[in-house]
């Protein structure tokens, strides 16, 4: 007895219809794996860290800013060389590198967050299921574990024709 229903759709719209009708029938734990961000992926209830991404980028950016400031002020003071009649700590001139490092760190931390959060979020879907995904295969899975038998039947009914055998 599989613990999970796996349905495969060639057409994103069909997958969307399936997900919507699952939701109509009270099945709310459907997962979608899709080759592209078709509308269907937005119709599934979602829990994740996506809200934190902005904050991560902000913190990353501020870290970059702090690093740049420390690097510029610290090294300039350590050397204490006068150039061009400018002060040792020349804020106007330092602004550029501060900006660049802020952006670099923000971008890099955003990317890292993406990688980590994605890895975290995909753990809910079995690897064998994810491997089914291709340009013509959008996979909808419904975990049956601990589910009301009525809902199980409803889910089976909706996904009916598209169900696929998955050997884990």
């Amino acid at each position: 007895m599989p613990e999970e229903l796996v349905a495969v759709y060639a057409d994103p719209d069909e997958a969307l219809r399936a997900v919507l009708s699952l939701r109509d029938r009270g099945v709310s734990n459907a997962q979608v794996s899709s080759p592209a961000a078709f509308p269907v992926v937005h119709e599934v209830e979602h829990t994740g860290h996506s809200r934190a991404l902005g904050w991560v980028a902000l913190v990353g950016g501020l870290t970059g800013l702090a690093c740049a400031t420390a690097l510029e002020v610290g090294t300039s003071k350590a050397l204490g060389l006068i150039v061009g009649g400018k002060p040792i700590v020349a804020w106007t001139a330092f602004g550029v590198v501060m900006f660049e490092l802020t952006m670099l760190f923000a971008g890099a931390s955003n990317f890292l967050a993406l990688a980590i959060f994605s890895a975290h979020s995909r753990r809910k879907v079995a690897k064998a299921v994810r491997d089914l995904v291709s340009s013509e295969r959008i996979v909808v899975t419904v975990s049956l574990a601990g589910m009301d038998p009525k809902l199980r039947d409803a889910a089976r009914g909706v996904l009916g024709g598209a169900l696929a055998e998955v050997t884990p």
Partner: protein, 444 residues
């Protein structure tokens, strides 16, 4: 976009990677030849010294720095255009965004070589990097060249990540689809991305943030490069207009190069279904707009020089238009300001050979435009006793050509290894188009 099945998109894209025509080999052969030529010329410079260039007393920067600025300029529009199209939700982005981003990464990788090539002691290049050393020395953060180091490394890093990030869904897709040695490569590179709805949510949140980082960074990088000149005291360089002028020029030359690359890709891989006249029309309009901006900038520069009344500056601009380099100057005016005016006519915009011709003119014109403002200022600065001239030597020109070969080589290798169109995004926008055609289908 006409009726294309989603599988067809993937198939066509994969074809660009797996099918290799004689045109590809010819292009790669040319690229490698140029790289060999440039590499040899550089090796002579390393062994003997920069005396092999045409540089001399007043003109200490020449063709090499011109090429650097030129490639930085070209690098601009790729990422910038891609990010802007992303924010405007333009359906045009899917087909051209990837190549534009790749163009950015590779031009900036090319540009980054030139400061190393052009300095007198290339082997001590690491002196400009911040790292703790036994000398207890650091770099001068007041120098625009130090800003350059940070700006360019940041920009190349962020552009690469941007390209890579956008490619993640495609790599995931390909890791499951293709066979052969590519499979483990894509598997590793895809970072396990599998297209679950959770991942898509995160992706769709992270990508705009990243694009938001990219745009100001892109603008800043070319501003910083312009400050290499504007922060000096030299007549013709020391001007507040330089940052916007450079950014505009960068986009201008970038679009021209993008037109050339895209038309090449389209022709070489029969991507007419994806890279459509609509794309070229859009690029042509952009090109025209930037050309007008550039014309305005040129006029402003001259106006400012003569309005301000600085003797040295007036002399630089007078000489630029009438002196030794006058033919170059007027050539630049024709290619950058006059020729693109043809794009006011939609027939010119939609006639690919015309557009390509104008793009070639603009590409060459922008290189010479950079050459002009660098050389004329140096050759004609304050001390009239030091006035001089500069003509690049052959070996120096070879090093510059080598850069073009290098860029082309990297790009050609890239399109063999990675999808040059965003598969996932194309499918998404194709689906959106389909949905728009049959609205009842999506909202049943």
């Amino acid at each position: 976009m006409s009726e294309v099945s989603l599988a067809q998109i993937e198939k066509d894209t994969v074809a660009t990677m797996s099918e290799t025509t004689w045109r590809y080999w010819l292009a790669l052969g040319i690229a490698l030849s140029l790289v060999a030529l440039g590499g040899w010329a550089w090796s002579v410079a390393l062994r003997q010294g920069l005396g092999i260039t045409g540089l001399n007393e007043p003109v200490m920067w020449g063709a090499l720095i011109t090429t650097f600025v030129f490639f930085i300029g070209v690098s601009h529009s790729g990422t910038l255009v891609s990010a802007i199209l992303f924010f405007t939700r333009s359906p045009l982005r899917a087909a051209i965004g990837r190549s534009a981003e790749a163009m950015t990464v590779f031009t900036i990788m090319t540009a980054g070589l030139y400061p190393i090539v052009h300095i007198g002691r290339s082997w001590l290049f690491f002196f400009v990097l911040p790292y703790p050393n036994q000398r207890q020395l650091w770099m001068n953060f007041r120098s625009p060249l130090t800003w350059d180091v940070f700006a360019i490394t940041s920009y190349v890093t962020v552009s690469m990540l941007f390209l890579y990030m956008g490619m993640l869904p495609d790599l995931a897709l390909l890791a499951r689809q293709v066979k052969s040695w590519r499979r483990p490569l894509y598997r590793v590179l895809s970072l396990g991305f599998s297209g679950t709805d959770g991942e898509w949510r995160i992706f769709e949140k992270a990508y705009p943030i990243f694009a938001g980082v990219v745009i100001p960074l892109a603008v800043s990088v070319h501003s910083v490069v312009s400050w290499d000149f504007a922060m000096t005291v030299m007549p013709g360089w020391h001007s507040a207009i330089f940052a916007p002028y450079f950014v505009a020029g960068a986009i201008f030359s970038g679009i021209a190069v993008a037109v050339l690359l895209l038309s090449g890709l389209r022709r070489g891989y029969h991507l007419e279904r994806y890279i459509t006249p609509k794309h070229f029309d859009m690029l042509a309009k952009l090109l025209l707009a930037m050309s007008l901006v550039m014309t305005f900038v040129y006029a402003t520069e001259f106006f400012m020089a003569f309005y301000r009344g600085s003797k040295a500056e007036m002399e630089v601009f007078r000489w630029r238009a009438t002196g030794t380099y006058a033919p170059v100057f007027w050539g630049v005016v024709i290619s950058n300001s006059v020729a693109p005016l043809a794009l006011f006519w939609s027939r010119a915009r939609n006639h690919l050979p015309t557009l390509i011709t104008i793009s070639v003119l603009v590409t060459v014109g922008m290189w010479f435009e950079r050459f002009l403002f660098i050389v004329t200022t140096l050759a004609r600065s304050f001390v009239s006793q030091n006035w001089g001239n500069y003509i690049p030597s052959w070996k120096e020109s070879f090093i510059c050509l080598g850069g073009f070969g290098w860029f082309l080589m990297l790009f050609l290798i890239f399109i063999k290894l990675f999808p040059c169109m965003a598969i996932s995004e194309s499918m998404q926008s194709q689906h959106a188009v389909d949905a728009a055609v049959t609205p009842e289908a999506s909202h049943a």
